[in-house]
Amino acid sequence: MDAARTYRPAGALDPRTALLPYRGPWTEREAAHLLRRAGFGGSRDDIGRLAALGMDRAVDSLLDLSAAANLPAQPDGALGWGPHERRASYLAMTSWWLGRMLTSRAPLQEKLALFYHGHFTSAVFQKGTRPLEMIDQINLYHRMALGSLEDLTGQLVRDPAMMRYLDTASSSKLHPNENFARELMELFTMGHGSGYTEQDVRESARAFTGYALSGGRTADRGAAVFLPRRHDAGPKTLLGRTGNWSGEEVISIIYQQTATPRFLAGKLLAYFLYWDPEPELVDAYGRLLEGNGWKVSAVMGTLLRSRLFYSPRAYRALVKSPVEFVVGTLRMVERATLPEPAPLVAAMARMGQMLFMPPNVAGWPGGAAWINSATMLARQNFADAVAMTPMTSDPADYVPGIGGLDVRALAGAIVELVLQGDASPAQRARIAAYLNANAPDDARRVRGAVYLAMATPAYQLA
């Protein structure tokens, strides 16, 4: 076996100062970093706007989800789930969500919904999950994006997609199904090996009985109902406490365990800050989360304003997921609407991420797992399609000042747009040389140079 490779950033963490407010320079570079993490990156204008606000107001603007007004609440048209309707439904669903990510003025809401989608997983068409049930679940994540994680977890008990995916819809006092109870502890709150037992799983499963879906086989969406007859109201002992616990009470007990803040803080940090965060940082962030009543708004605000967040250790320290790669690229070239969904979905499948269909209940593993030669080929070819084909608007629309610039300045503008300056002298020189080698009146010249900037390893990093 090769030595295990770590993707934790090099250098030492100072846990005492890590989460204190950042007071360093605020330029387009920091603004772009913020926008890649709290959103999907953006155009020169998007970045310039955040840069002009200063850090505090820039973070405030991202935390203000009222800016998300006027986004479509669900896809257009009927969303069937029969064998011959699935493909069309899937394309409509994906267009809907990618379209929101592309156009929302509150991108953090979409970014958090994507985080929850990979954490509190469910999957469309599996176990009969209807498209609209899956859309409803994503909208629950939209609605509660910055709210309390404990409240959000509680809502999942009555979420139809979750009830189907993890079998509470068919669990009853006589035949309790352990699927939800197990994944609730193992993947959603406490983490594997964090101290709960098989007995705790079995006892919790009894508490989550009694829920069912009404609406029958033909309804677009089932409605959660509670049937006292099917609920096991007897005494249960779990995590050291005995009582006639209901499902809600089980969740409340789980949120009193020391493992829970640690596990959730670790997941948030690995998604928004850097991979494999240090245990002392995770502990501190977990205390903050718990101390703020599990409110994501509070801990996101602290993180996005922190010294650590703007330190070199966190900079470009995450791999863009396929969704971030695709949406970020389209935002950068100022696409106002989503391109044709079928090729986009095919490209994203090759990159290893299909929305509404996480690979399993553990979600997408992320990090280095996004990158292999098959997914890299798909990423590069998508970048090529965006840069080189008329799929996108003319570079004149998104490369600033394209007309009056000499080759060196034009290469610099492209490196700024695509990489926020994160290129080596050799990479810059190659882009300039490429521009020089091709005639100024060749329409493909600037497109090719944009592609050369996207072909750098830095472009894969958030």
Binding site: R316, A349, S373, Q380, M388, R430, I431, N438, Y451
Partner: protein, 407 residues
């Protein structure tokens, strides 16, 4: 459960980047003597996924069982149509070419293959067959773990997926497997055709002198270089392979033609190949769809082995099929069948031909489905140990009895 973090391509960097000069970047596979167990030298495994859940009952047909005819009033195949193997079972009539191979002793059929507590979800059951882990959520696939552990020379093309998407069975901790869709020409980076484009593109993967540090930078730069070189070299290397075999003009025909081409290009050093065919998810009007797909499969496999034989490769290539599940015994109201459980696996090539495993009972069903009699991990273990000459421990959890399918 353990979700191991996947780590990629720590080995292929040296396999590619260190080789220079006129030898070609894959020359190393040839230059090294493979450390194979006796007889396992240069053997290749082709894993063929019948995606969507193939109806085993209408593939290996128990035509002699009255329960079969009763449960399948519309879909049941008449005894005189079936390609008879013995007095109880036969092959689907569209599989004439495969039946001819069976008659020549080149096909072993494992009846009733499956695993405990079967899952009826395509996604989950596919994942179980590909990770060989019905209980946990192993982040690596069984062939990925084999690549990590087998002492084959490190090479980008040791494993190849003939597929648009990398299948889960190839997810490894220390290996990167390319996914090639359709033909070698499709494994390509779209590179701008203007002057200087290609060279400049390749050079951009350079990750030195950057104004930032990132723990992911070395991995990404290395994968990018390999992808770039691989996409340049593969079409050139396989171009030397000529075939006269007449493959059917179908997806599976093209895929197996590419597999033969890869196998016949020793510089690639390929040992495991994944190919997919489908979709067998026949909830509605099953007969036409399944007959067509099984016919395509049978014809393509025959052409594949003709092609391999013409190049002297047929004795070193074993093909194994799997499908995430069989289908419900009783047909549904739409002349189709719903998700079931156990089904047959075909192992083709230099095998001891015949039927293996207990034929599943049509009367003692498990929730309306065929109960499995042979755990698929026994088939995997047999192939890993007796065909590829590698230990199955570390690839498969637990000990699995070998099947006597190999000569």
């Amino acid at each position: 459960m353990t979700i191991a973090r996947k780590q990629f391509l720590l080995g292929t960097i040296s396999g590619l980047a260190l080789i220079g000069g006129g030898q070609g970047v894959f020359g190393r596979a040839l230059a090294q003597t493979p450390a194979d167990a006796a007889g396992a030298a240069n053997r290749v495994l082709v894993v063929l996924n019948l995606q969507g859940g193939n109806d085993g009952l209408n593939t290996l047909v128990p035509y002699g069982d009255p329960v079969y005819q009763r449960m399948r009033p519309d879909l049941g195949l008449a005894p005189h149509d079936v390609l008879t193997i013995d007095a109880t079972v036969g092959l689907n009539p569209s599989m004439r070419a495969l039946k001819a191979m069976y008659d020549r002793g080149r096909v072993a059929v494992i009846q009733g293959a499956g695993y405990p507590n079967p899952d009826h979800s395509h996604f989950r059951s596919t994942e179980i067959w590909q990770t060989a882990d019905p209980v946990g959520y192993d982040a690596t696939g069984w062939l990925g773990r084999l690549l990590d552990r087998a002492d084959w020379p490190k090479n980008l093309f040791t494993g190849v997926a003939v597929s648009p998407v990398l299948p889960e069975l190839f997810i490894a901790e220390h290996h990167d497997v390319p996914a090639i869709d359709g033909g070698a020409r499709d494994f390509r980076l779209a590179i701008d055709g203007t002057r200087g484009g290609a060279q400049d593109f390749a050079a951009q993967s350079d990750a030195t002198d950057l104004p930032f540090r990132s723990p992911f930078l070395p991995t990404i730069a290395a994968v990018q270089r390999d992808t770039q070189r691989g996409s340049e070299e593969l079409p050139k290397l396989v171009a030397g392979y000529k075939t006269t075999a007449s493959y059917p003009v179908t997806g599976i025909g093209r895929s197996l033609a590419l597999a033969a081409q890869i196998i016949g290009t020793p510089a690639l050093g390929t040992r495991v190949i994944y190919v997919a065919h489908g979709s067998f998810d026949t909830h509605v009007s099953q007969k036409a769809t399944q007959d067509r797909l099984l016919g395509q499969l049978s014809d393509a496999l025959a052409a594949f082995y003709d092609d391999l034989a013409a190049h002297g490769n047929d004795r070193r290539v074993l093909t194994m099929t799997f499908s995430e599940f069989g289908r419900r015994v009783a047909e549904n109201a739409s002349r189709g069948t719903d998700h079931g459980e156990a089904g047959p696996m075909f192992v083709i090539g230099p095998v001891k031909g015949g039927l293996y495993g207990t034929p599943p009972s049509l009367e003692q069903l498990h929730e309306g489905n065929l109960a499995y009699g042979t755990d698929f991990r026994s088939v995997y273990a047999t192939i890993i140990e007796r065909w590829l000459g590698r230990p199955a421990s570390g690839v498969l959890a637990g000990d699995w009895p070998a099947l006597p399918i190999l000569g």
